[in-house]
């Protein structure tokens, strides 16, 4: 099959030209934040850097890093660099009230984001003849809106299904003959199993490809999904902070995701020292945006551990490829596509009157994440009836669901029974095999 591109000239641009383009855009992006975003300017001043020091991409390392904390500290207006009247949209990460990160978009920011998603859809074989079923969540989560916009640009018929209601997903999939499925890989696996349970064979559906992201998945899971749905499964990557999905995406080669380098510069750093590591090293992925107006990001630490590769790709795309994230440099977990920090669970416990003695156990059963939270009961919370205790468990699970958007099974346990190693409680047990 002949390789197709959404924007061939940019996607296959020789590396030297990409670098020149990046240099030119970086100078402008730095000047933009210096002029229009006081928190950025302060960070740069603290590091003794001015826009005059940034003459091109080789000077990128001089800029200060920013982290999720930097963004949270400036809640609710994040690192807004245009007047609010210029913004047309927000999206947001899940998170504690006051701690979530709100991403702002001008119309141009939305356009460029959707363009990135369109590139991913075309790389997965999408054309205007396709029927794209988007079952990522719509709303504050970037998954649904991003792929929806990309699909519009490609000209495909877009089914804005949002997540959940598997019966209805399958009905639309079969009746409207969806050809491309966009969702989390675990939901794709679940749909595959549901189809099988209903007696469908992989060849009974019209799907040819799937674009799956928002959570880590293995090659093994890819094979399972490809076999159960009869499709080719493509990975897509992104963060709310950078815009959303589409920062990078897989091509037919399926060996790493091409980063849209005309919009983002990627670096790999040593998470301990912050030192930039050479190509091919494993380290923390850092992104710098080049075109963002409302919410620019300079050297944003993603906490994802990756490897970058500039080896030529058979698809013809010249943009650098990133590996699937191999882990995190912080304690964030991705459960059913939702970012979860243990500190969020802890905040709910304290808020609900529990001592922060807990353990999170995450596992994967039939390609779906299981999420259990064990919490030690205190004497004040103990009651003499089973219904009293199960009501407490349900209430706590509900409070966690309100915070995270996903609900765990809560187990109240006896005091001092949660495993402690070297006196320190083990907060997270992740039994999933997420990385190859």
């Amino acid at each position: 099959m002949e390789e197709r591109y959404y924007q061939k000239e940019i996607e296959t641009m020789p590396y030297e030209q990409i670098r020149a383009l990046q240099s030119e855009k970086l100078v402008k992006q730095v000047q933009h934040v210096w002029d229009n975003c006081p928190p950025y300017r302060k960070l740069m001043e603290e590091k003794g850097v001015t826009p005059a020091d940034i003459k091109g991409i080789d000077d990128l390392h001089k800029l200060p890093f920013i982290t999720k904390d930097t963004l949270r500290e400036t809640y609710p207006y994040s690192m807004l660099a245009v007047p609010l009247s210029e913004c047309v949209r927000i999206q947001s990460t899940s998170g504690t009230t006051g701690k979530r990160v709100i991403a702002y978009y001008t119309q141009n920011d939305v356009n460029l984001w959707e363009e990135c998603c369109a590139r991913a859809i075309v790389a997965a074989g999408g054309t205007k003849e396709d029927v794209v079923q988007v079952c990522y969540g719509y709303g504050l989560f970037t998954g649904g809106p991003g792929l929806n916009g990309g699909s519009h640009l490609v000209g495909s018929l877009t089914l804005p299904m949002s997540s959940g209601n598997t019966e209805r997903q399958i009905q639309f999939m079969m009746d409207l003959k969806s050809t491309i499925l966009c969702c989390t890989p675990s939901y794709a696996a679940y749909i595959g199993e549901s189809l099988k349970e209903q007696g469908y064979k992989p060849e009974d559906n019209s799907l040819k490809a799937g674009i799956f992201g928002a959570e880590p998945w293995t090659e093994e899971m890819r094979h399972d999904i490809e076999a159960s749905l009869g499709i080719k499964a493509y990975d897509i990557y992104g963060l709310t902070e950078t815009s959303g999905p589409g920062v990078s995406f897989e091509c037919s080669e399926q060996k790493g995701m091409h980063i849209n380098e005309d919009h983002f510069v990627a670096e790999i750093i040593d998470p301990e020292t912050g030192e930039v590591l050479p190509e091919g090293s494993k380290g923390e992925l850092v992104f710098t945006s080049l075109d963002k107006e409302a919410f620019p990001l300079l050297r944003y630490r993603t906490r994802d551990i990756c490897v970058l590769s500039r080896k030529p790709c058979s698809c013809g795309r010249t943009h650098v490829r990133m590996s699937k994230p191999m882990g995190r440099s912080d304690d964030m977990m991705i459960i059913r596509g939702v970012n979860v920090f243990p500190s969020q669970i802890e905040a709910v416990l304290l808020n609900e009157g529990y001592a922060p003695n807990y353990q999170i156990v995450v596992d994967r059963s039939k390609n779906n994440d299981t999420f259990d939270v064990y919490v030690e009961l205190s004497p004040e919370q103990f009651t003499d009836t089973v219904s009293g205790i199960t009501a407490r468990e349900k209430a706590l699970a509900g409070a966690i669901r309100t915070m995270l958007g996903i609900g765990p099974i809560v187990h109240l346990v006896a005091p001092k029974t949660i495993a402690r190693s070297e006196g320190k409680a083990v907060r997270v047990i992740d039994k999933r095999k997420l990385h190859d």
């Binding site: 004497p379 003499d384 009836t385 346990v413």
Partner: protein, 143 residues
């Protein structure tokens, strides 16, 4: 009239229950009655003992989650239909029973029923009105 029941949270693991009975035995606490409610994850052990303070102390210092709960106990003659008539009396007055358990003793031809209800005082009054004898802490000690 209410009596104290000790309620103990029991982990669902092998040996959890025997740890509790060992502790009580070692400290010469005599059990009058017991019942256990179990779920997949945990159990709730309910005990009527001869010495509440001592039992509470030894279980707490043994690291158990234990609570003294006010329950009522009623003495009924050990004949068919008597429990039913007691429950009818409560039902008629809209008193809900959360749980109950019963025991008989060697000496008297009576059964004792421990009840956890929504309102101890109301339930006691209803049962006494219906001709039942409510059991006191003193009665328990003498059994």
């Amino acid at each position: 009239m209410s009596i104290k029941q000790l309620t103990v949270f029991v982990e669902n693991r092998q040996g959890a229950l025997v740890q509790i009975t060992d502790l009580l035995a070692a400290n010469h606490v005599d059990m009058r009655a017991l019942s256990i409610a179990d779920t997949q994850d945990f159990g709730i052990l309910r005990l009527i003992v001869n010495d509440n303070d001592e039992a509470l102390r030894v279980l707490q210092s043994g690291g158990f989650l234990v609570q003294a709960t006010d329950v009522i106990a009623v003495k009924i003659s050990d004949t068919p239909g008597k429990l039913s008539s007691a429950l009818h009396a409560l039902n008629v007055h809209g008193i809900n029973v959360e749980y109950l358990y019963a025991f008989i003793t060697r000496t008297a031809r009576h059964a004792y029923v421990v009840l956890r209800v929504t309102d101890n005082d109301a339930a006691s009054a209803v049962l006494e009105e219906a001709g039942f004898h409510m059991v006191s802490e003193e009665d328990i000690k003498k059994l």
